[in-house]
């Protein structure tokens, strides 16, 4: 228990408790360095929402809020996010003390030590989702298997219910209608239905992201006083650590505008963005890494184009589309976008590459290479670079 009490005090000045109590949001702070990954702080909002007292919550693992309709896939995703020390935003079904379930948008984000980049805490924000049952759409993954039996046997760290995957770990959702690229990982769970679905609105997602922002900056502030600084992002560029330096060097030789996204991470975040992409879109690298490409879409982006892209990603095929995209300054441009899965030396899809050509530049022939040729040349070079990732030894993994 002493460890749990000290968890916050070690990093932040004593007044941090009072400041955290002032916040109206429902959230918890957990410490992954203590065995069992316990809750070390629960906000008043959280206690009110869950019906538990502070004493009943502190020291417990988040799994105490699990219920019979707990979703195995969501549990796995949250566990993966914890393991990979990255943020996750996911709709979940939680249970109050009195046993009544409620939908909420769970947004969890790590807090890093500024010194060595290790994870100090995870902040988990719960935003209640106003119920709005509706039919599921194609590609929406839900895993509604009856978990009454499974749930009790689960050994997960955190077990929550999930109504649907709608992961969005970025703060750029205000850019209007979003490109709804559900992870391809979900396709296998379609058809397994439960009685209702729910999806967080953009407003709710924004609220969750804002809450994380507030709490993190408060923690950062209170760590300054102790000198044991924490920060929201690992000191290296977020997402950049995912790629090996040799791959980054190879990719750096490709001068076209392109991004790599990782289909194995929730919401298919960007894990590499070329300099030309940043010039084209006006964003800084840290603003795009870790985020889904949907921030490029805007209100006049054709939804049918987005669904075409989504479909080609689902079936793991290449496609070329002409899509209206938006820069950071909200100006729009027509983008001849080529998307293709890219495989590693194991023959498995490691990333998707998206190579952009701005329409106005379409006729610019450089060194005899048309923009389309340069686009395909970039795709090929990315394939060569990604296939050159470390080759596994020993027997086949397939």
């Amino acid at each position: 228990m002493a460890l749990i009490e000290q968890s916050l005090n070690r990093r932040y000045s004593l007044y941090v408790h009072e400041e955290l109590d002032e916040l109206s949001e429902s959230f918890t702070i957990t410490d992954p360095s203590i065995s069992g990954h316990p809750i070390v702080f629960a906000s008043l909002g959280f206690l009110k929402m869950s019906g538990y007292s502070k004493e009943e919550v502190i020291g417990k693992n988040g799994r105490v809020f699990q219920g019979p309709r707990t979703n195995r896939r969501s549990v796995m995703e949250i566990r993966e996010a914890i393991r990979e020390e990255r943020p996750i935003q996911i709709s979940l079904l939680n249970y109050r003390k009195d046993g009544t379930p409620f939908w909420m948008l769970f947004h969890m984000s790590p807090v890093f030590s500024k010194d060595d980049g290790s994870v100090i805490h995870f902040v988990g924000v719960q935003v209640p989702i106003s119920p709005k049952p509706r039919r599921s759409r194609s590609g929406v993954g839900r895993n509604g298997v009856n978990l009454c039996e499974d749930g009790s046997r689960m050994r997960g760290d955190i077990v929550f219910g999930s109504c649907r995957r709608e992961v969005c770990s970025d703060s750029l959702v205000e850019l209007g209608p979003v490109l709804d690229l559900e992870s391809v990982l979900d396709s296998d769970s379609r058809g397994l239905d439960i009685e209702e679905t729910c999806e967080a609105s953009d407003l709710e997602k924004q609220r969750a992201a804002n809450a994380i922002e507030n709490i993190s900056s408060l923690l950062t502030r209170y760590s300054e006083i102790t000198g044991r600084l924490v920060c929201e992002r690992r000191c290296s560029l977020p997402g950049a650590g995912v790629l090996s330096s040799s791959l980054i060097i190879s990719l750096g030789r490709i001068k076209q505008s392109f991004v790599l996204t990782d289909p194995h991470l929730p919401d298919m975040p960007i894990v590499y963005a070329s300099d030309a992409f940043l010039r084209l879109t006006g964003y800084a690298r840290r603003e795009v890494l870790g985020h889904n490409c949907r921030f490029l879409s805007g209100e006049d982006t054709d939804p049918s184009t987005l669904s075409k892209m989504k479909e080609s990603i689902r079936v793991e095929q290449a496609c070329t589309v002409r899509i209206l995209n938006y820069r950071k300054d909200k100006s729009s441009f027509w983008n001849y976008l080529h998307i293709s899965p890219v495989r590693n030396a194991s023959g498995k899809i490691a990333y998707f590459v998206g190579v952009q050509i701005e329409e106005g530049c379409k006729d610019q022939v450089r060194h005899g290479l048309s923009p389309e040729m340069r686009q395909l040349g970039a795709v090929g070079a990315v394939r060569v670079a990604v296939r050159s990732l470390s080759i596994g030894a020993g027997p086949s993994m397939s």
Binding site: G252, R253, I254, K255, A318, V342, R343, A345, S346, G347, V365, H367, G368, L369, S370, E372, M373, R374, Q375, L376, G377, A378, V379, G380, A381, R383, V384, A385, R387, S388, L389, I391, G392, A393, G394, P395, S396, S398
Partner: protein, 379 residues
């Protein structure tokens, strides 16, 4: 262990068709009316005394034009469905052991593709050769030729000039970007390895300037009448490239040295040059022609953006055995079934290589030959 053979690759390709049909031996005629991208080397050539590295037209930190061109054309044909399969779905692994031999599981490659029916008909009727070329136009990616400009130049659409090297896609690739490089003379394809052809393809390697790019040459089997090279992008250096060498000839003035690769199961020589590729190429070609006279089968592997050329020396083959391909000599093996792939062992690969290797005595003779030829050119 059933190793797939190179023969199958050649069976249904443009190159072999070209070679097996008399009408097609005249590319000048056959290529008439065909316009493809033409990459012209700069006049600043590898012949003179300029250092090998730092051709000013090839920026180090950027993808080169030739690399973009080859990859773009390859991707374009992937799009158009020219290839029989997506080779990047094939798994590559390191075979357990010190040598780090590479194994690729490629179930498609082993399949003996049936020639397309209609093509066969046309061939048997000995129909218009020009039609064949048009038919295979999609396999023709582009060509490279020498030029007069100070910088290399890419002409998006041009007739194939005399003395060009045709870059033709291999629709049954062993790895990404697999192409044939076919030098064509003014009236026919070449039959034997000549210095000009080797220099042209070495220059392709230099100007592609991609460290994943490897080129291969297998000395022609009896009955083969055309000269061609192969190339592709490998995900990692081949095991032979990691193996230590013992340099026995060094011409400091001309920046060339010849080494034997030590402790490698197949007898291998390494030619390196940091300038004057012309000399290295001329020495190598003369050595190769001597080997051919002596009926010593050999292969070439060009790596490190053209700076390194490996010469693998095989045993004069028995009637039934086949020679290994250059990538096999380099330590890269293809398997057509999962069980073979899973069961591949370093011992088996070592044996495979050592079984075809030239013996110690023969190797000494070749080394002496190298020294005397290199001395002659250095003089």
């Amino acid at each position: 262990m059933n190793m797939v053979t190179v023969k199958q690759v050649e069976d249904d390709t443009l190159v072999s068709k070209v070679a097996t049909h008399e009408q097609l031996k005249c590319p000048r005629f056959c290529l008439q009316g065909i316009r493809i991208p033409l990459y012209q080397f700069s006049s600043q050539c590898l012949l003179d005394n300029s250092p090998f590295e730092g051709l000013p037209c090839i920026p180090e930190e950027e993808q080169s034009i030739l690399d973009s061109l080859l990859l773009a054309q390859w991707e374009d044909r992937v799009w158009k469905g020219v290839l029989r399969y997506d080779v990047t779905t094939s798994e590559i692994k390191v075979i357990c052991g010190q040598r780090k031999f590479l194994a690729q599981l490629n179930e498609e490659w082993g399949i003996n593709y049936m020639p397309k029916h209609e093509e066969k008909k046309i061939c048997s009727q000995g129909d218009l050769p020009a039609f064949k070329w048009t038919k295979h136009h999609e396999e023709l990616l582009f060509c490279v030729a020498s030029g007069e400009m100070l910088k290399p130049e890419l002409i998006p659409s041009a007739a194939v000039p005399d003395g060009a090297v045709l870059i033709i896609i291999n629709e049954i690739p062993v790895e990404y970007g697999h192409v044939f490089l076919v030098p064509c003379g003014s009236d026919s394809f070449y039959r034997v390895l000549d210095a000009r052809s080797l220099e042209m393809v070495a220059r392709v390697a230099v100007e592609i300037n991609n460290c994943s790019f490897r080129m291969f040459y297998d000395c022609p089997a009896a009955g083969t009448s055309h000269l061609y090279f192969q190339a592709c992008y490998f995900p990692s250096p081949l095991p032979v490239e990691f193996t230590p060498v013992d340099t026995f000839f060094r011409d400091g003035r001309r920046g060339m040295c010849i080494s034997c690769v030590t402790d490698y199961p197949i007898k291998t020589l390494l030619f390196e040059s940091n300038q004057k590729v012309k000399i290295m190429v001329e020495v190598l070609v003369e050595i190769c022609s001597c080997l051919q006279e002596k009926s010593i089968p050999y292969n070439l592997l060009i790596s490190d953006c053209g700076k390194k050329m490996f010469l693998f020396l095989q045993l004069q083959k028995l009637s039934n055995s086949r020679t290994l391909s250059a990538w096999e000599c380099g330590g890269y093996f293809l398997f057509k079934s999962t069980s073979e792939f899973d069961q591949a062992t370093e011992e088996a690969m070592l044996k495979k290589l050592s079984d075809v290797s030239l013996d110690d005595e023969g190797f000494e003779v070749v080394k002496q030959l190298c020294c005397s030829i290199a001395d002659k050119f250095s003089g």
